[in-house]
């Protein structure tokens, strides 16, 4: 049973290791789908939103993690 638990944890961490990034990417994909299906926007514009949005989300996630780590390190060292 423990192995099944570890397997499930591994599966979740494969796709949702960083929850905020996962949520942001899923939201972006939903927005692109809505632009195509409901707003009737040109497919290429929706594609561009998806294509440019993902790298922006990646950079934001990397910077946020770096900032969080640096704050945590500073707090550990007594804020000096």
């Amino acid at each position: 049973m423990a192995i099944l638990g570890e397997l499930a944890t591994e599966l979740v961490s494969m796709f949702a290791g960083e929850k905020r990034l996962t949520l942001a990417v899923l939201t972006l994909i939903t927005a692109a789908a809505l632009l195509v299906d409901f707003v009737g926007l040109n497919q290429l514009i929706a594609g561009t939103v998806l294509l440019l949005g993902c790298p922006v989300l990646l950079i934001e996630s990397v910077c946020r993690s770096a900032r969080t780590q640096a704050f945590a390190a500073r707090a550990q060292s007594g804020g000096k």
Binding site: L21, L44, L51, P55, S61, V62, C63, S65, F71
Partner: protein, 247 residues
């Protein structure tokens, strides 16, 4: 076979599998060095057999799913998985999180198994076998996902599987020759490159699944990869600056 799409598929499967197989090999080697090759080989074969059954079960099921739905589902999963790898590789490149160290992983696993051996000597062969089994299963799961994800969207499952098998053979051969953890494999560079490729495939197939006809078709993958490479490098550079500012 169209090599403009098959080449990135095979190389993504090969490089991603290389990273995962190196990690699994380190643990199997730790098991073998403490308890001999028998539990290590038994656990490895059992893990591989389970993974092979997953592939054999999933393979026929995938062919029943309409191509656009399959591309959308796989595209989304690839995007999440690839961007996760790229994020972690950027943070490691920036020095925000430590690089994965195979020698350290080997030492940790050896110490953990030795401690378990002192507590329950009779069951140690079993514990060692289960450890090898778990390592192969957990790391192999990612290999199976990558092979299916990069191969299924274009009917290239077999070439992708060959890419993964080539990585296994290479790690095994190198491991047999040097008989030590493969710590000189540039794991983070590989992870960075694979993250770029998987993210590019992810956007491509998510878009195709949504009905977007990308200009230039498969060649668009090159532009997507260049964008993710630039994003990963920019992220790493900004992260390095941020951590220096706040440190």
């Amino acid at each position: 076979m169209n090599w403009s799409i098959a080449a990135p598929v095979v190389s993504a499967a090969f490089l991603a599998s290389l990273v995962e197989v190196v990690e699994a090999f380190t643990i199997v080697l730790a098991v073998a060095s403490l308890q001999g090759w028998r539990p290590a080989a038994t656990g490895t074969v059992a893990g591989l057999a389970l993974l092979a059954s997953v592939v054999l079960l999933l393979g026929p099921l995938l062919s029943r799913i309409p191509l656009s739905s399959l591309q959308l589902a796989i595209g989304i999963l690839l995007l999440l998985f690839g961007m996760g790898w790229l994020r972690k590789a950027s943070l490691r490149a920036a020095g925000v999180i430590p690089l994965h160290d195979e020698e350290a992983a080997f030492a940790t696993e050896t110490a953990r198994l030795s401690a378990q051996g002192r507590r329950a000597h009779r069951n140690l062969q079993w514990v060692a076998g289960i450890t090898a089994f778990k390592a192969v299963l957990l790391e192999g799961l990612e290999v199976v996902f990558i092979v299916i994800a990069v191969g299924a969207g274009r009917g290239l499952l077999i070439p992708a599987a060959f890419g993964a098998l080539a990585a296994c053979a290479l790690v095994l051969a190198a491991g047999i020759i040097i008989h030590r953890p493969l710590s000189r494999v540039p794991e983070n560079t590989l992870k960075f490159g694979v993250g770029v490729m998987l993210s590019a495939f992810g956007v491509f197939w998510t878009g195709e699944g949504l009905g977007i006809a990308w200009p230039g078709q498969d060649l668009a993958l090159l532009l997507f990869a260049a964008l993710f490479l630039a994003a990963g490098l920019t992220g790493a550079s900004l992260a390095r600056k941020r951590s220096m500012e706040f440190a």
